[in-house]
């Protein structure tokens, strides 16, 4: 199978994203193109639900590469991120060696710590050659793990190699495409950021959000989609603890289509507010009258725009 080529220009990158139903802006296409061309990891930071993870998924899909995902969490260690030995199988191998009276200690040790008994975790998998080309390695929510892991990652991302003490060093012939995401619940150290190309993924503007909505929720009535986007955009200007992300917009639009709503009205909005806002304080702040005022404003703006 021939390798799908990497995009040759910024415009081609933009097309690539568009073909995979990802409505990105030019700044994202630029940084993505550079990351692919320069072989640098891409560091994406932004609020939850703005489509950071989606970029990696789209990339793997559009380029036909394997997606290897490493979800970070507190307490992530080498055995779940890089490799682990298959202890059960090793035990059996040792028992068999005993039963066959193979007393040669060196040989037993050599056999037991061979590639056959190695369980490869995401980071090691990403270094392996792949027929479809170097895979896309997604290191998701790196801010959830601790500094120690970050320091380890520094080494992996610099040389794309991992050392297994019992086996030796595994080095990637072709480095994977690395996408690192962070929700900024913790500042990631500058040393790691320095090695990456940085991009802040913000909330989209109304025009782009409308495009995203129509691409992701195809069956949505035109009027409703405009109202939904305008309402969410207005909501982001309010003084909320957590503004709704694009994921929430899509969820909400999905919920509204399920409910067969054709146009927004205050009662429906109040009833479904839980899809958009995830903090009780924010929901109480947006009481019935506030929702109505906001909705009237949105509707009159839309009418003026027509």
């Amino acid at each position: 199978m021939p390798l799908k080529p990497l995009p040759g220009s910024i415009d081609a990158t933009l097309d690539l994203l568009a073909k995979a139903d990802y409505v990105g802006d030019r700044s994202l296409a630029t940084v993505l193109y550079l990351a692919l061309k320069m072989g640098r990891p891409l560091f994406l930071e932004g609020e939850a639900g703005v489509g950071k993870t989606e970029i990696a998924k789209v990339l793997s899909q559009a380029l036909g590469r394997r997606l290897i995902r490493l979800q970070c969490y507190e307490g992530l260690d080498i055995s779940s991120a890089v490799y682990e030995w298959n202890y059960g199988a090793q035990m059996i191998a040792i028992r068999l060696a005993e039963a066959e009276r193979e007393g040669d200690r060196e040989r037993v040790e050599h056999d037991v710590f061979s590639g056959k008994f190695l369980i490869k975790r995401p980071l090691l998998q990403a270094l392996e050659p792949d027929t479809a080309g170097p895979p896309v390695l997604l290191i998701d929510e790196i801010d959830r793990t601790d500094e120690a892991f970050e320091a380890f990652l520094l080494e992996v991302l610099a040389d794309f190699q991992v050392t297994v003490p019992e086996l030796g060093t595994v080095k990637a012939d072709h480095p994977p495409i690395v996408v690192v995401t962070s929700n900024r619940t913790r500042e990631v150290h500058d040393a790691l950021k320095r090695r990456c190309l940085y991009h802040w993924v913000g909330y989209p503007n109304a025009e782009r959000e409308l495009k995203i909505l129509r691409a992701k929720v195809p069956g949505i009535p035109k009027k409703l989609s405009e109202q939904v986007v305008a309402f969410v955009q207005a909501l982001r200007k309010e003084d909320l603890f957590k503004s709704p992300g694009v994921a929430e917009t899509l969820d909400w639009a999905g919920a509204l289509t399920e409910l067969d709503v054709v146009a927004l009205d205050p009662a429906t909005v109040s009833d479904t507010l839980g899809v958009l806002l995830k903090y009780q304080d924010d929901i109480t702040r947006l009481d019935g009258t506030k929702v109505k005022a906001l909705l009237d404003e949105v509707k009159s703006d839309l009418r003026a725009a027509e």
Binding site: W85, R184, T185, Y198
Partner: protein
Amino acid sequence: MAAPEGRLAENILYFARALRTAGIPVGPGAVLDALEALSVARVGSRDDFYWTLHAVFVKRHEHTLLFDQAFQIFFRKRGYIEKLIASMLPSTMPGPPKAAPAGAQRIQDALFSGLDERDPHKSEVELDARLTVSDREVLQKKDFAQMTAAEIRAAKDAIARLALPLDEVRTRRLAPSRHGHLIDIRRTLRASMKAGGAVIDLKYLGPRVKEPPIVALLDISGSMSEYTRLFLHFLHAVTDARKRVTTFLFGTRLTNVSRAIRQRDPDEALAACSANVADWSGGTRIASSLRAFNKQWARRVLTQGAVVLLITDGLERDADDTLAFEIDRLHRSCRRLIWLNPLLRFHGFEARAKGVQTILPHVDELRPIHNLESMTDLVRALSGAPAKSYDPKSMLRRVA
């Protein structure tokens, strides 16, 4: 071909310098990256040029604004920024007058360093046993507000010498441990291999412990002015000893000075702090400052079991529901909230001020911090379980 490329390199170099002057940390590596990026991107439009440089030079969301302004100025009127750089060059050189006092301070420190290598426990025992009034002892009990300049200097030294015993929390990561409860199969197998697999020598894993991050919120309003400088020294000492300390100053607005305070030399660190802050010794708006913290920073710095030190006298003029709401949210988003109040030095201190009454129900611990002794106590408190006597809830229970 060579000539225009040379011009480009030169321009990027100047632009990088301009960014550095504006406060974006741009290393020489980034300049090389920028040149590489520009050569591979085959930039056609001004926009692409902008985003290409942005991708390489900006590593933090906050810097986007600075970058944008620098870019607009630099590539519209380049002569202007060149002049600007030229005029700024001498000031970036290290000034000789600054070096001398810093050095002198260090020599002084070196002279005194032999005096105190003891841990806080030991010094306390000695204080009790001797009962003679030495200078040091007076210093231990003296209120910071009543100290002379010389005493303050001595206090600073003492603060710098405070040994921080390390507070530890369990993480979910595992480490080899003799008293652990999980079998470390990897090490067990390795050990068994040594005996040819005949003997199984069990090795264990236990939870790894690590110091939690500290977040300090320091009130720098007028009513606290006698204390702020020494507290800053204290926070500098804490920052020096621990990796993860975030410091915020607030009067009427909130300022993050963590980077400034991280400099090695305490005097330089404090100077950098003051340069960052616009509202020294003004009024206090605790509620709005806490609100700003909760909204912008809490989700970024209060992870991994952070301890919050709230250093304020709690004298808020307009204490209302917002203060209660914000302090409650702060309390719910951290592991331990310690309120350090210099006013607690007065024996007759009663929670009569409205601000104090509002904050009190939401803190885990209320402690005095007005002299070296209380500071030493605090250091010990940071390393252990909360002290019963300082628990505001136990105070309430005793009354009931």
